[in-house]
């Protein structure tokens, strides 16, 4: 039994560490209510293309709230710079939507999407 534990404990630890460090791509997937970042990116994108600024502002808030939920889960494995960049993108997006600036809002959203996909294994 002691010998089993001698090998088992380190193995469990290593597996646990790898899971914590490499689980961001899995943990960024929606798991509960209103934490589907990808869905809100698509909705906001559509709102901006259609120039529905009120809806875009409302959905940008939803996107921010979804991202804040996801970031708590992925923070142990993901790159901090990537997460900070997404925070900046969301903040800037809010300003462009307020200013009804379609080109910059779409550019910002595109960059956000790129950072989002960069959170991977």
């Amino acid at each position: 039994m002691a010998k089993f534990l001698y090998y088992c404990i380190p193995m469990v630890m290593i597996i646990g560490f790898v899971l914590i460090m490499a689980s961001s791509p899995l943990l960024k997937q929606p798991m509960g209510k209103n934490d589907n970042v990808e869905k809100y990116i698509k909705i906001v994108n559509r709102n901006i293309i259609d120039e529905k600024w009120t809806d875009a502002a409302k959905n940008q808030k939803q996107l921010k709230s979804a991202w804040e939920k996801v970031v708590r889960r992925i923070q142990f494995g993901a790159e901090r710079d990537e997460m900070n960049d997404i925070n900046k993108n969301i903040a800037r997006l809010k300003g462009y939507i307020k200013a009804n600036d379609k080109a910059d809002a779409l550019a910002e959203l595109s960059e956000l999407k790129n950072h989002w996909y960069n959170i991977r294994f």
């Binding site: 630890m13 560490f17 790898v18 142990f76 494995g77 993901a78 790159e79 997460m83």
Partner: protein, 242 residues
């Protein structure tokens, strides 16, 4: 995003990974480490530190870096164990720097080792006169091994044809006030014997004993918690804490 929490979690990962990896790397003592082993240790430690505090990159690549360095270290260990020629190539060879009392200056130059360094190493070994040295060998870990001339070797009981009692490893019978029954059994004694021995020394209970050792000659060493020392010598040279 809570950076403190992330650093804590990454710190735990780094700490225990390092603990496991150093256990895997083996029990080489610091004094036995070659120069490369030393650098390997520093690098692995540095990667573990980055894994903990460098939040600008993901933890996983750091962790993989740590594993790769340890695997390469293990690989080299394996090569040096199984392949003698490889071991000589990777770890280097011991070099004779003094032979028959003569300094091998070419060997010193090749090793980029100054005479001043050699003399310093000798002095650290208590040798101030080069005439006392027959051989000196610079080991792969950078330490100097010295063989003194026969006339300068210390006298041993064997030289004087003296018989000395056998000295082996002592067994702990009481540690920090706790009796270790397995050890008592291992030395073919029992608790009653131990208690009788303690009584002889006016000790009523094993919990009063800090350490009790039994040597192979049957001599019992006992250190109590209360030392009853009246004139304790303070070797410190200032009144503050040691």
């Amino acid at each position: 995003m809570n950076e403190t929490l992330v650093v804590m979690v990454r710190g735990i990962i780094g700490f225990f990974t390092l603990l496991l990896l150093t256990r895997i790397l083996g029990k080489q003592q610091i004094s036995q480490l070659t120069f490369f082993d030393y650098i390997l240790g520093i690098t692995i430690g540095s990667i573990a530190a980055s894994l903990t505090t460098d939040l600008t990159t993901r933890a996983f690549p750091h962790w993989i870096g740590l594993i790769v360095w340890v695997i390469l270290g293990l690989l080299l260990q394996g090569i040096t164990l199984k392949w003698r020629r490889g071991s000589k190539f990777l770890d280097g060879e011991p070099t004779i720097v003094i032979m028959n009392g003569r300094i091998m200056d070419k060997a010193l130059k090749k090793m980029r080792y100054r005479v001043a360094d050699l003399l310093e190493e000798l002095r650290e070994k208590g040798i101030f006169d080069l005439n006392e040295v027959e051989y000196a060998v610079l080991e792969t870990n950078g330490k100097l091994s010295v063989l003194k001339k026969a006339a300068n070797q210390p006298i041993t009981p064997k030289d004087l044809n003296l018989s000395v009692p056998y000295k082996g490893i002592s067994t702990e019978l009481i540690y920090d006030g706790v009796v270790i029954d397995e050890n008592i059994k291992a030395v073919n004694r029992d608790r009653a014997w131990l208690e009788a021995e303690l009584k002889k020394r006016y000790i009523n209970h094993p919990s009063q004993v800090f350490l009790a050792l039994l040597d192979p000659n049957g001599q019992l060493f006992i250190d109590k918690y209360s030392d009853n020392q009246k004139n304790i010598i303070d070797i410190g040279d200032y009144p503050g804490p040691n």
